[in-house]
Amino acid sequence: MTLHPAKAALPPRDGPLAGIRVIECGEAYAVPHATRLLADLGADVIKVESCIRPDVCRVWPFPDNEPGEQFWNRGGIFNEPNRNKRDLTLDLRKPRGVEVFKRLVATADVVCENYTPRVMAQFGLDYAALSAIKPDLIMLSSTGFGHTGPWSNYTAWGFTLEPTAGISHFVGRPDGPPLRSGIAYVDMPAASIGAYAVLAALRHRRRTGRGQWMDLAQYEVGAAFISEALIAAAAGVDAGTRTGNRHLAYAPQGMYRCAGNDRWVALTVEDDEGFAELCGVIGRPELADAERFASAEARRRHHDELDEVITAWTQTRGAEEAEERLRAAGLAAAVAMSNRDLLLDPHLRARDYFEPATHAPEAGDLGTRPYPGMAVRLSRTPGRVRRAAPLLGQDNEEILGELGLSPEAIAALEREGIIGRLPAEDRMPASQQRMVGYDELVASGLVTEHDPDFEQRLGLDSVAARAEA
């Protein structure tokens, strides 16, 4: 195999992808999470938004539930997947915006976009056009349904794709309706597969000198994540349906209520030895010898009874205590972790999982907050959270300067409304920002509890100190 001349074995701290430039035209998560993975590993990701249409996720939640003066720079749903990126606003509906975009593409290795199929072509920025500027360009087009086929112009969100891709068929109680996950689920399979596609394409380019255009249909990725059911159905075999929290083979398995407000522990017993251990932990050793529980198959038949027996033990205990005692017996068990549990979890803290990012002053009192760290940890070239998510248009001058535009030319772009740092008022009206008080959030059930002292609990002061160090 021939390799391009080895680069100096440099940038270990910033990750193995240092030197790779990625342009992202994405919103929500299906592409932004893909480019987050690349940015975390060192790629220079430039997020291209427009003031006319900023990322839809530049919304709630805000620090202390206050939109502040620049709400679009303060939203947690945006800030999580967009750290480590630079931000450029460009109005691609205007020829001058398209021209600047093309200049940017000439300097890039990869373009990742998630417009509906017609959009990039309407801008004159489809792969044919862009590869004329940069012949070995790698371009990922991630759409709901792909660029070909009878549904290609249909629109989708992660929420609507989960049922459409057949995933919801397997979520929920057997006697209840299909459900969606608590996140816009299909975005995340599509994002990780998108990052994988880009990395495979980079390697292909290094070996052959050839770029490529990749047409990723999020619908297909979602369906591929239930391949085992599709293969069964194709073979004429029962592919199954929702099972609640139960397992097809192992028993017992379930989510058991513990003491406290909405506290639960998940448990899976994988074999007869595990069942004997469980019976010991819950103080019912005699059940290990009962014939009706003698095998997984028998336990599945008497699962309801077992659930009552286990709940009788868990509901008088804290979830952490139940988890610890079940784990100590070698069983697979975990608290159903809330966002608070995760942020305060001793194991994740021992592993320094959460990484601080310090926001620009324009984001108001956002300051330094903890964010999920590396999805995967590379021992030699780990990457890191180098920078908080960008303000809208934060890096306009820097990026355009790198492209050789003079300060006068940049100022002209701003005058013409091609670039900017403020969202168009009619598209993101401040008045539409969600402002629901804490009491109402708790009363409506959207939120289990509100901790006014969360900053102390999280040790945000020491997080900030760590960020400075």
Partner: protein
């Protein structure tokens, strides 16, 4: 990935899915399995044959297309030596053991690194290679709980609910392969291998789409969402023959008049429903109006007509309906494979289309030990020696 050699150890779902994604791009993957039993996923129902068969688990068939299977008892010195020889020839090693198991077998990261310093070693674990929980057991449900997804999923009053099938482990494998390819990128430029440590819990905790910030910004514990808050954002809604997903993005401007015109329900234009605040305030009545109207048509009719109106609807499909989907068919989503036990199968094939598609031949998942003799032969082990190893249950 032509020319990239991968050794897969430990089985399960996440590590094999990671290795399958490498095989999909043309890597040569050798999967080491326990003689007689094989990867535990071989025992998972349903089976393409309709009854249990080690070579016909649909989960195993999905996760292992395009790989070679070599049986090897790694608890024996000979078995471990042969495994290390394969590691020495590999570019990537993907393992799915708990850390304690890898250490007991003597194929932990330190052992792999000393056998082959230029290899990318991907350790797919439940909770990471270090930290108080590193050896804790997990199942799909337990991962779903430990990573924070279960707490957000399910009906409001129900227990936290598992995601579909093996989603957490698929997600883990899909993130592990990103680390594997990034480390391979570095290795092929520098000759330096490294460990790619994957904690499935950490992967999942990074997928919560800003839910962590409800606590780190506001101190709010984000819960499963109640129904009856306008119905449009979260719940699937019943119609004549199933469920549909009439989705409006919470942050976007809802074109309510368009929606009302599409549904042909003039009451929706009542001023009580004109604003989002009003729709939330009168959610129960709104739900009643919508449910009554949606019941008048079937799910595919709603889905297609909504899309023609440029309204973003989804439709709850079953596996059988996906098989009949004209769109998947037109895009060449399916691929036929012939498997000696399962017969001719329709498999989901390409995860994306590319102008540089590797055009790989269809290779079904291997039978247990199907490639033992061939792979050991490449190491210079003769057919007779392999037969002796088989007889001794080492291979």
């Amino acid at each position: 990935m032509a020319g990239v050699r991968v050794v897969e150890l430990g089985g399960g779902v996440a590590a094999p899915f990671c290795a399958r994604l490498l095989a999909d791009q043309g890597a040569e993957v050798v999967k080491l399995e326990r003689p007689g039993r094989g990867d535990p996923s071989r025992d998972c129902a349903p089976f393409a044959t309709g009854r249990p068969h080690r070579d016909a688990s649909t989960l195993f068939l999905a996760l292992n297309t395009g790989k070679a299977s070599v049986t090897l008892d790694l608890a024996t010195t000979t078995g471990r030596e042969i495994a290390l020889e394969l590691v020495r020839r590999a570019d990537v090693v993907v393992s799915g053991w708990r850390p304690a198991t890898a250490e007991r077998i003597g194929l932990d990261d330190a052992a792999l690194a000393s056998a082959n310093g230029r290899a990318v070693r991907v350790a797919v674990t439940n909770f990471g290679l270090r930290g108080p929980l590193r050896d804790a057991r997990a199942s799909e449900l337990v991962l779903c709980a430990a990573g924070g997804l279960a707490y957000l999923t399910g009906e409001y009053e129900d227990p936290p609910t598992k995601l579909a099938l093996n989603q957490c482990q698929y997600m883990g494998g899909a993130h592990a392969v990103v680390g594997a390819l990034a480390a391979l990128w570095h290795m092929e430029a520098t000759g330096e291998g490294q460990c790619v440590e994957v904690s499935l819990q950490e992967v999942l905790a990074g997928l919560l789409q800003g839910k962590l910030s409800f606590y780190s910004y506001m101190g709010c514990v984000h819960r499963r969402q109640p129904r009856g808050r306008g119905g449009l954002q979260y719940a699937l809604m019943p119609c004549a023959d199933g469920w549909i997903a009439p989705m409006f993005v919470p942050g976007a401007n809802v074109d309510w008049e368009l929606f009302a015109a599409f549904l042909e329900v003039p009451e929706l234009l009542d001023e009580r429903f004109a604003t989002r605040a009003g729709r939330l305030q009168h959610a129960a009545e709104l739900d009643r109006l919508l449910v009554a109207r949606l019941a008048e048509r079937g799910k595919f009719e709603w889905f297609h007509t909504a899309q023609e109106w440029r309204l973003t609807f989804g439709v709850a499909q079953t596996p059988e309906e996906l098989l009949a989907c004209p769109h998947l068919d037109a895009r060449g989503f399916w691929r036929e494979q012939h498997h000696p036990v399962a017969g001719t199968m329709r498999m989901p094939a390409r995860l994306f289309r590319s102008t540089e598609d590797p055009q790989l031949p269809a290779r079904p998942a291997p039978r247990l030990g199907e490639h033992t003799a061939a792979v050991l032969g490449e190491l210079g082990i003769t057919t007779a020696e392999t037969a002796a190893l088989r007889a001794a249950a080492v291979a």
